[in-house]
Amino acid sequence: MKQTHTQYLIIGNSAAAVGCIEGIRSADREGTITLVASEPYHTYSRPLISYLLEDETDEQRMKYRPDDFYEKNNVTALLGKTAADLDAKQKTVTLESGETISYDKLLVATGSSPFVPPIEGLNTVDKKTTFMTLDDAHWLEKEVTKDTNVLIMGAGLIGLKCAEGLSGRARSITVVDLADRVLPSILDETGGAMMKTHLENHGIHCVLSDSVAKFEPSAAILSSGTKLPFDVLVIAVGVRPNTALVAKAGGDVRKGIATDEHCRTTLPDVYAAGDCAESLDITTGQEKVLALLPNAYMQGECAGLSMAGNDKPYDKAIPMNAIGFFGLHILTAGSYEGEALTEQAEGAYKKLVVKDGVLKGFILIGDIARAGIYTSLIKNRTPLSEVDFDLLKDHPQLMAFSKKERKEMLGGVKA
C-alpha cells in the first residue's frame, strides 16, 4: 500500500486544524503539511449550520477560511478520507482507504460526535438526525416543511440553535430536556427562565424536567406520561470527544484527550486540540473539554507553534459562550461559584460572580456591550482591588482602570 511522508500531519479540518496550520505557518513557511478529514468539504464553520437553516448564510459564506486557504498555506488536504489507526511508535497514521502517512509531528483535531442515548424504540423512528454537520443541516432542509412537527431532544446550545434555525420552516417545534431550565450549561435559574419565556414567545415549545422514556415511530412517550407526536426528531443531548485514535495508541484519555499547556498528548510528537481534547479551565483549576470554537482555534494555534518549534503556552482557557436567539443575545464566561451580584431590567439580566477577590464569571443577557472587558478581568485574574469595581459593576469600561494601565491600553506605552 502507498506510504507518503509529511512533516506535519493534521487529522481534522475545523477550527483547531485551521489554528494549527496558521500557527505552523507563522513559524515555518516551508515544512510539508498534510491534512486528513472525513468530511469532503472545504473548512467550514460548524456553528453556522443553524444560520444556514435560517438562510442567514450560505455554503460559500460559511467557509471558515477563503477558497485558496490550503493552496496559500501549501497544505495537502485529503478531504473525505478517514484516519483509522495511529501508530505512535512508528509515527504513522493509516487511513481507512489503506494508505499510510508517516509524520514528524501529528495534531489530532478529531472533534466530537453527537451522543445518541439508547432509548427504547428509537430504532423505529424513521426520520431522525443529530445536528453537528453540514450534511445534517442539508437533511433538515430537505425533510422539514411547513407541515412538519419537529421534536428536539436537548435544550442546550445545539438543540436550541437548531430550534431557532428551523422555526421559520416547521409547523411546530418542541424541545424536551431533563434539566429544569434551558441552556443549563451556561445559564442560572433566572437567566434560564428569561430565555425560556423569550423562546416560547417565538413559538418554541419547551418541555423541561422531563425526558423521553420510549419512542413510538411518530411519538415520544415522556417519563411523565405525556405523549409528544412528531414527524422529525433531532437528537441534541450532548457530544462525546473523539478520542479513540489516541486511546488505542496508548495515549492518556480522560473525558477528552489529556494535554499539557502546549497541547501535547502523552504520546511523543502527538498533539491534540479542539473538542476532542481537554484544557485547563483557569477559573476552576479543572482539566476539562471546553468545546468552544475560540478555544479550539487557540489550542490548535498553540499546538501548531509548538510543532514548529516555537513554544508559546496556552494558559488562559476559560469557558466562554456567545449565543443569541431571535435577537436576544447571551454572553457568558468563566464559572459561577462565588458571590453573585445580579441586576435585572426589562429584557436584560446581568450576573457577576466574584471569588477570592477576582471576577470568576458572568452572565449577560440583552445588554452585552463591551463584555470583553469583563472577560479579560477573568482571564488575567485581575485583583478587583486594583480596579474601580463599582464602576465596572455598573457597566464594563476602561475608566475603571488606572491612568497608567490606560496609557498601556490606549496610548501605546509598553508595559
Binding site: A15, G19, S45, P47, L48, Y51, E56, T57, R61, M62, K63, Y64, R65, P66, L293, P294, Y297, M298, E301, M320, N321, A322, I323, G324, G327, H329, L331, A333, I368, A369, R370, A371, G372, I373, T375, S376, L391, P396, Q397, L398, M399, K403, R406, M409, L410, G411, G412
Partner: protein, 143 residues
C-alpha cells in the same frame, strides 16, 4: 504601523470623534443628511467621568483575540489592520465577548458587528476621528 492613540489629558469629551466616525462610515456626502436627527453608531466611543475623558476604538492588536475567536472567519488581520467582512458575519457577538477593550460593537440593526478599520475602507482614507479632533486628544501615528 500607524495606529490611533489617545492623549487623554487633552480630551474635552466633546464627542466630535464619534460624529466624524459615523459620518465617514455612512457612505454619504453631507454630514447633516448623514447624522441629523438620527441615532448614530460610531466605531469610536468616548468614556467620560470625573474630569477624565478619552476615546476608545480598536487597538488593532498584533495578536488579536477577536480574529482568533471569530466563528465565521469574518474578522481578519491584514498588514496589521483588523477588518470585518460584514457579509460573512452572522452577529454572534463572540468578538464582543473577547475584545479586552470593548472596541467591537453591534452595527445598526444588530445583525452584524462593526469596528474601527482606520477609515482605510471608506472614502476618508485616514481616520476621520483624528482629522476632526479639535485638540489632538487622538492622534494617528507610529509609536
Amino acid at each position: 504601523m500607524k495606529k490611533v492613540y489617545v492623549n487623554e489629558q487633552w480630551c474635552l469629551g466633546c464627542h466630535l470623534c464619534e460624529y466624524y466616525c459615523a459620518f465617514a462610515n455612512s457612505g454619504m456626502d453631507n454630514m447633516v443628511d448623514a447624522l441629523k436627527d438620527k441615532k448614530i453608531y460610531p466605531r469610536i466611543q468616548v468614556e467620560e467621568g470625573n474630569g477624565i475623558n478619552f476615546a476608545v476604538n480598536c487597538r488593532h492588536c498584533d495578536d488579536p483575540v477577536c480574529v482568533k475567536s471569530c466563528i465565521t472567519g469574518a474578522l481578519q488581520i491584514d498588514d496589521g489592520v483588523i477588518t470585518v467582512d460584514q457579509d460573512k458575519c452572522v452577529g454572534c457577538y463572540t468578538c464582543i465577548l473577547a475584545c479586552p477593550y470593548g472596541a467591537v460593537m453591534p452595527a445598526e440593526g444588530g445583525k452584524v458587528i462593526q469596528k474601527c478599520e482606520l477609515c482605510l475602507q471608506n472614502a476618508c482614507g485616514e481616520p476621520a476621528c483624528v482629522k476632526g479632533c479639535p485638540n489632538r486628544a487622538i492622534v494617528y501615528e507610529e509609536r
